[in-house]
């Protein structure tokens, strides 16, 4: 479904991503891991069009999307959440999701109809599927950190994506929140038939959830494979699983 081929991106001669390779099959839950600064977020920004690659290709459903702007890539069916909670703080939780739903329905440019009666059902359905319905009237800026992250995912769902890219969905969460969020993500993948690509720091979470893991180090893909394959790969252990301290 998604294929990243030999991707490069540098900032002022610093190679943030240098030769990233990634394959995501339909319906899979794929994780990208790697130490801080390995280029995971940059990779996600390249896939979603927030950044343009210097070299290489991003292919989604047999189509090269590496030169498209973010809103077009979203239209192709890729929605994302951000590492830093990235919501609309001055709008209510409901409207946060509604903005995405209206965009999906191509109604963002409707001028003379009151917005508060539009896409209500769809928005409520999404809010209840992630468990935020009771907070629909709250201002997004007033939510707790955990709820912020969930709202992130809810906004992304508003676009009815085929593929969901989550940048550290559980960053800063307590262990309890982390496990419930991962449960939510798994459930969404099953019920919506979503393909999910995410990156994560917590190794337990990754090896328990993902069906395929890609390991990045210094912007380069070291290996991608099933969790067992990755675990047994020595190079990975050196790069990430404690090799640094040893």
């Amino acid at each position: 479904m998604l294929k990243v081929e030999n991707l490069y991106k540098s900032f002022d001669k610093f190679l943030a991503v240098s030769g990233a390779e990634l394959t995501v099959d339909k319906g899979q839950l794929v994780a990208v891991i790697g130490p801080n600064g390995a280029g995971k977020t940059t990779l996600f920004n390249l896939i979603t069009g927030m950044l343009k690659p210097d070299r290489g290709r991003v292919v989604f459903n047999e189509e090269d999307i590496s030169k498209l702007p973010p809103h077009d890539i979203c239209r192709k069916g890729i929605a994302r959440s951000f590492q830093i909670a990235n919501v609309f703080p001055r709008l209510s939780v409901f409207k946060n999701v509604q903005v995405a739903v209206l965009s999906q329905q191509r109604k963002s440019n409707t001028l003379f109809r009151p917005a508060h009666r539009m896409a209500v059902e769809e928005t409520n359905r999404i809010l209840s599927s992630v468990g935020l319905l009771d907070k629909a009237d709250h201002l997004a800026g007033s939510l707790s950190h955990g709820d912020h992250r969930i709202l992130e995912i809810a906004i992304a769902l508003g676009n009815e994506p085929q593929m969901l890219i989550l940048d550290e969905p559980t960053a800063g969460m307590s262990p309890d929140e982390t496990s419930s969020t991962m449960g939510l993500i798994k459930r969404l993948a099953e019920t919506h038939g979503l393909t999910i690509l995410f990156c994560e720091h917590d190794m337990d979470v990754v090896f328990n959830t993902a069906q395929s893991i890609m390991v990045m180090h210094y912007g380069k893909t070291i290996i991608q494979g099933k969790p067992e394959e990755v675990k047994s790969n020595m190079e990975v252990q050196e790069a990430y699983l404690g090799g640094a301290d040893a």
């Binding site: 702007p69 979203c74 994302r80 209510s92 440019n109 003379f112 508060h116 007033s142 906004i155």
Partner: protein, 323 residues
């Protein structure tokens, strides 16, 4: 936000009736001041659409007001076009100028947007100021032929009031439409918006075009009121003034700029009688405002008394207004 509740609607109706009854009672001078407040308020509202709701630093919005006014005056005075044609064409020309300038500006963000906007807007001023053959330069155009059926003191008042209310209604519809909501979302977080599939630049440009159209309408109404135009209409000082009106009234509220315009015009008129340094008072007011009412006068009242309504239009600046 559950549709229009009855109370504010009633309040608006009462206010409107009072405004309709005023001209026979008030001295001519005050009807004139009121009409001039409507014109300025419409201009400030149109600016606020871009600045307050759209988050774009449209520093030189007055330029489009001037374009609308000049287009209207020239169409009538030089081209001898019929009145109705001028009414329609002038705002469209202003919107077209907005499209041209906005097309470049939306490619930049925040202050860079503002810098480019103020330079391109000033360019319009320079053209009007220098092109003697067409615009009479700094002499301006006086005695624009407008029939007295709409330009005599109280008729002009009603005429302007009608269009002011009409434009306000349309702007309110837009404000609450998906377009308006998306615009506010872009203000809050453009990157997130493009990630949910919104073409941010196009949306912003559309907002600019709509806002400059209304600025053009305000320009036309100005000519109806004054029957003359002069280059100062496009000068950046006026743009700064309406920017201040938005801040003063509360730029995250819908109706705030009306209040800001009323305060500013009243100050200019009544303090201006005693001293030409009335802007000094405005300056002091602005400083006090920044310290004590950072959300503007209207924003303050909405926060204090607005129990729920319009809450998301004017939450605390720290973004933590708990509902």
């Amino acid at each position: 936000m559950k549709g229009l509740s009855l109370k504010p609607l009633l309040l608006c109706a009462v206010l409107l009736v009072i405004l309709l009854l005023l001209p026979p009672i008030l001295p001519r001078f005050y009807t004139y001041i009121l009409a001039s407040i409507f014109v300025t308020a419409l201009l400030a509202m149109s600016l606020n659409m871009v600045v307050g709701h759209g988050g774009m630093f449209q520093f030189h919005h007055g330029a489009f007001y001037g374009v609308g006014a000049y287009a209207f005056a020239l169409l009538l005075f030089k081209a001898h076009m019929p009145l109705w044609f001028g009414f329609i064409a002038a705002p469209v020309i202003a919107a077209f100028a907005g499209l041209l300038i906005g097309w470049f500006c939306v490619r930049l963000t925040s202050l860079y947007f503002g810098m480019l906007q103020i330079s391109l807007g000033s360019l319009l001023w320079a053209i009007v100021f220098r092109w003697y053959a067409l615009t009479n330069g700094d002499d301006g155009i006086h005695g624009v032929p407008i029939p007295s059926s709409i330009s005599s003191s109280s008729n002009a008042y009603y005429f302007i009031l009608f269009f002011f209310v009409l434009c306000l209604g349309v702007m309110y519809l837009i404000h609450r439409s998906p377009f308006g909501m998306t615009l506010q979302a872009i203000r809050d977080n453009p990157a997130r918006c493009s990630a949910v599939g919104i073409n941010v630049r196009r949306h912003q440009l559309m907002a600019i075009v709509i806002a400059t159209f209304f600025a053009g309408v305000a320009g036309v109404l100005f000519v109806v009121l004054e029957k003359s135009v002069f280059p100062d209409l496009l000068f950046w000082v006026l743009s700064l003034e309406i920017f201040i009106m938005c801040l003063l009234g509360g730029w995250f509220t819908f109706a705030g700029p009306i209040l800001g315009a009323a305060i500013t015009v009243a100050l200019r008129t009544f303090v201006g009688i005693y001293t030409e340094y009335w802007t000094l008072i405005l300056g002091v007011l602005l400083i006090l405002l920044i310290f004590f009412l950072p959300e503007g006068v209207m924003g303050f009242f909405v926060q204090k008394f607005g129990k729920g309504r319009d809450k998301e239009a004017a939450p605390a600046r720290g973004q933590h207004a708990e509902s």
